[in-house]
Amino acid sequence: MSNKSLVSIADYSKQEILAILESAADFELTPNRKTLDGKVIATLFFEPSTRTRLSFETAVIRLGGSIIGFSDAATSSSSKGETLNDTIHMVSCYADAIVMRHPLEGAARYAAEVSPVPIINAGDGANQHPSQTLLDLYSIFKTQGTLENLNLCLVGDLKYGRTVHSLLMAMSHFNPSFRFIAPEELKMPEEYKVFCRKKGIKFSETSELNENFDDADILYMTRVQKERFLDLMEYERVKNVYTLKNEMLANSKTNLRILHPLPRVNEIDPDVDSNEKAYYFQQAQNGLYVRQAILSKVFR
């Protein structure tokens, strides 16, 4: 495995996370640089993505690099039965680094093991999506001025939602407290609660959204993702459980900010968009700077 690969947020120490955030702040001030001049980056998207692919590709272009790749597995040799091992070896003949999204969990770790060039995981099924986690951290840092001692409410699909799992693990460096708000079917898995207990991180659980976030600094909303359900009956039962409305924010703290990895469906009412506490579109923009920082770290 190339030690420059980024597969899981756990691959980065606290110092490395903070260095990425510092670097992202620099890129926000000066986004156009020639850090990747002459480099070819492959973006292999075995499943569809809009934000992640476009922001990675924009990051490469703004850093002076070139892009090859595909955005649909149907147009790649994997549709002919080529193994991931062979695809990675073939692409590494042409590219200096590979940004990959794959529907199978663990695909990025495996790719990083067999690849002679660095792999950046842009999401492997419901497992890891470290660049999303880093842009979440950057957004929290920007809006709160710190990552230390914050109170975060994680809402929605806490069972299948990879972003909340990675965020929980990354925030564990910064003495957070959590409230998990989810329906019974989508509760935070036990292993993450065990992780919190071991780390001495305070958390509470509830299934009611209304007014359960008045002491929160961050309200992290998530979508109930149909594609993560093996049982579609279960999806139908829980898909419309929570919708955040503007009036529910009346008693919230002034520094509260609402984050969402996007796309949203109906878990945040459009009337929240005009509230100054809504931060999800700026959060998506922050993704560009964070991905510039990640790509630059790969070639440093």
Partner: protein
């Protein structure tokens, strides 16, 4: 006395002792003893001071590979491996799981890469008090030993 005779009767090979009676045929299955051509003796429901009733397997002229002892450590961690040479027990080997096991179990996560591509399974062994859990190196899912299928 009878137990000693059974063990001593093996000239060279391996004895797996102190298998819980309910696990004997699982041991046969995971070690693929049904297709093994060596001489094999199985005994079950033998009296045991330690565990009440026990099973025992004797395999002539065969040493267990590391991944085989790892399989045994998963399903019957308190069993004992006796290595026999020229009728003597030359080594009593406790079953100890290493920090990582390879090619031993199948990941129960249906969307794990290891269930779709030719990838050797690798699990981290997490020992927490008396309970052993396994964490897939690839999909990072943590599972109980009872949840995995032993290859």
């Amino acid at each position: 006395m009878e137990k000693k005779l059974k063990v001593a009767a093996l000239k060279d090979g391996t004895v797996i002792d102190h298998i819980p009676s309910g696990k004997l045929f699982k041991v046969v299955q995971i070690l693929h003893l049904d297709t093994c051509i060596n001489q094999i003796t199985l005994a079950n429901n033998l009296d045991s001071k330690k565990i009440g009733k026990k099973g025992l397997v004797k395999i002539a002229d065969r040493a267990l590979a590391e991944n085989e002892t790892n399989k045994l450590a998963l399903i019957c961690p308190n069993a004992k491996i006796n290595i026999i040479r020229n009728f003597d027990v030359v080594e009593k080997r406790p079953l100890i799981l290493p920090d990582e096991i390879r090619e031993v179990v199948q990941c129960p996560n249906p969307v794990c890469i290891t269930n779709h591509q030719p990838v050797i399974t690798r699990f981290f062994v997490l020992k927490d008090n008396d309970q052993t859990r396994l964490k897939c190196r690839y999909c990072e899912r943590e599972v109980k030993v009872e949840e995995v299928k032993i290859k």
